[in-house]
């Protein structure tokens, strides 16, 4: 590329590089401003194009489809129906049952993950001997493919065969199925949560703990009054992303129960509308409703926690 040769970074100034060369570089930099803009856009273009084609466009398409009766079984009867798909979905007990199941799984598993993840983060943070080994072992569940783990749990809870089930058959009952789905979710993501929280724990100065201990603060008091406030940004980021993630739960339910006994999540109901029902209009409406729910969760989080929310501090990394 011919423009590349003109491009230079503006010099930082005051560095012990050759002043004359820096001056030249600086001059070239101002000349190359346009070239910089052009190169910048060219470098971003592939990534931006892929994201628009595979994410932005489909979202718009889903919204468009949700306004139509679009049934693959009766393609000649497709027509614009306005918001009537939304009325159909929002007045359907199937949707609301799935919504309730999804919300329940999300809330319970995120709370459990936060508590266990915090415990794991604290002990991992304090471990020095075998630190790498401990960390790698803790990450094993995260490295196991969700479907694989789900099959393992299904095996474990199979009647008469599994190591956890004994003679009971928990996957045939609604609430015990949901409990097992939550167990599978929690098992898989506690390490991930712990990793996020550990990055936050590394920022808590040991001095503060020492000072507080000297003033007679118990470990419990120090945890709540020093660690928690300082780790709050990491906690919020972790909880937000896990909430958004948990709300999309699909793989575990698909393998564990296939949605039997009213254990379908919203993602599963939408998926079934495509694969089993071939009803694209209704399926797309559900997809749009999932988007909206996710957006509401994200906005509420950001509004509630303002400055501590992701994006305002580069995702809480520093």
């Amino acid at each position: 590329m011919s423009t590349q040769a003109d491009l230079s970074r503006p010099a930082g100034g005051g560095h012990d590089a050759d002043e004359e060369a820096v001056a030249i570089a600086r001059k070239r930099a101002s000349e190359g401003k346009k070239a910089e803009a052009k190169l910048g856009m060219m470098l971003c273009a592939p990534a931006a194009l892929v994201m628009v084609a595979v994410m932005a466009y489909p979202i718009a398409y889903a919204f468009w489809l949700s306004l139509f009766r679009a049934d693959l079984r009766t393609p000649d009867q497709n027509e614009f129906v306005g918001l009537s798909n939304y009325v159909t979905v929002l007045s359907s007990p199937i949707w609301w049952t799935a919504f309730g199941v999804t919300a329940f799984i999300t809330v319970v598993s995120v709370i459990l993950e936060l508590v266990l993840g915090m415990l794991l983060a604290i002990v991992m943070h304090r471990t020095i001997i075998g630190r790498g080994l401990v960390r790698t072992s803790a990450l094993v569940p995260y490295a196991i493919v969700t479907v694989v783990a789900a099959f393992s749990w299904r095996f474990a809870w199979s009647q008469d065969l599994g190591w956890l089930a004994g003679s009971s058959a928990p996957l045939t009952d609604r609430w015990s199925s949901i409990a097992i789905i939550i167990l599978a979710e929690v098992w898989k993501t506690v390490p991930f949560m712990a990793l996020l929280l550990m990055a936050g724990l590394a920022l808590v100065p040991e001095d503060l703990h020492k000072a507080a201990a000297m003033d007679g603060g118990s470990a419990w008091q120090r945890f709540w009054m020093i660690t928690v406030p300082l780790v709050m940004p990491s906690i919020l980021v972790a909880v937000l992303f896990r909430t958004l993630d948990a709300f999309r739960v699909f793989d575990n339910i698909f393998v564990l129960t296939s949605g039997a006994n009213e254990t379908s999540s919203v993602s599963m109901v939408a998926y079934n509308n495509l694969i089993r029902g071939l009803n694209l209009g209704i399926g797309s409406t559900m997809s749009v409703l999932i988007f909206i729910t996710i957006a509401i969760i994200a906005v509420v989080f950001t509004k509630l926690f303002g400055a501590a929310a992701p994006g305002s501090d580069e995702g809480g990394r520093r």
Partner: protein
């Protein structure tokens, strides 16, 4: 669960370097008994199901093992069945192909974009950053229907390439976000020195920046790899022929209508898990911190 990692996981390196620098850690070494107990319990909770998977895969009487802690014997029978008659080798190959294509393209595309947003000022820069953040939050499961129709129109259904394109898009936001941090961590002085020495941008990129962000590239690749290797719902909807299946979909094959052959399922599960765990081990070793920091001195 989705496979998109949050854009906030610091790769282990930066934090590790902070730990190393922390002067006050003497009393962090001492774990109280309850903490040791917690650690053991949580690690047990994390590792035991994995142990169960591997030991069942090796158990000659896998399906009737029940609750016994040790397998009734050791046999490679399930593995050879899975790879032989089960045809699981082809699924592993398909998955590897999709994952490698995803990782290679995603790393290249994401690195270029990361350099641009970290170093250059240009129109639409802000918009692209916002788009990346929003893309992180998009519930991919809800894209199944529109993407299915798009892929059908483009004749990309039942194609591993079509799947790779989808995974590429899913892995990009996180990869760009991560690499942006790694690029920003390289001191501008290092780049300036290259310009002063007469390098053009392209040369500087290849000879100076690329080696310095290589550890970040490895870390990011692991997450792209996991995205592709782990993904289930799109593979399930897109792929129609057995010979195109990826591992997550292929696993279903060992499930009969009413019976499940647990030995082979656990053997296949083990085969799926090993590459990812190996990748994780690699990233731990590769994330040598302080490489960029050291480059400014001298």
């Amino acid at each position: 669960m989705s496979t998109t990692p949050a854009p906030v996981i610091a790769p282990v390196a930066p934090e590790e370097s902070r730990d190393g620098a922390a002067p006050l850690r003497a009393d962090r070494t001492s774990l109280r008994p309850w903490q040791v107990a917690t650690l053991v319990a949580l690690l047990g909770f994390a590792l035991f199901p994995a142990y169960w998977m591997v030991s069942t895969a090796l158990d000659p009487r896998a399906s009737t093992r029940g609750g016994s802690l040790l397998p009734s014997g050791l046999t490679p029978r399930h593995f050879s069945f899975v790879l032989g008659d089960g045809g699981f080798g082809a699924f592993l190959l398909n998955s590897a192909l999709v994952a490698v294509v995803t990782v290679l393209i995603s790393s290249a595309v994401a690195l270029l974009a990361a350099v641009a947003v970290a170093r250059f000022r240009f129109p639409l820069r802000r918009q692209i950053l916002v788009m990346i953040l929003v893309a992180q939050m998009v519930p991919l499961e809800a894209l199944v229907i529109p993407l299915f129709l798009q892929a059908r129109t483009l004749h990309m259904l039942n194609s591993l390439l079509g799947l790779a394109v989808v995974y590429l898009a899913f892995s990009l936001p996180f990869a760009v976000w991560q690499l942006r941090g790694f690029v920003a961590a390289v001191p501008v002085e290092v780049e300036e020195a290259a310009y002063v020495d007469g390098c053009g941008w392209g040369q500087m990129f290849l000879r100076v920046l690329l080696p310095l962000v290589a550890p970040g590239l490895v870390a990011t690749s692991v997450f792209s790899f996991i995205t592709a290797w782990n993904e289930f719902i799109f593979a399930l909807t897109f792929l129609q022929d057995d010979d195109k299946y990826t591992v997550a979909v292929g696993l279903q094959k060992f499930f009969g209508e009413h019976t499940a052959d647990w030995g082979p399922i656990m053997a296949a599960s083990t085969l799926i898990t090993v590459p990812v765990v190996v990748f994780f081990l690699l990233v731990q070793r590769n994330l040598v911190s302080g490489l960029a920091a050291g480059a400014v001195k001298g």
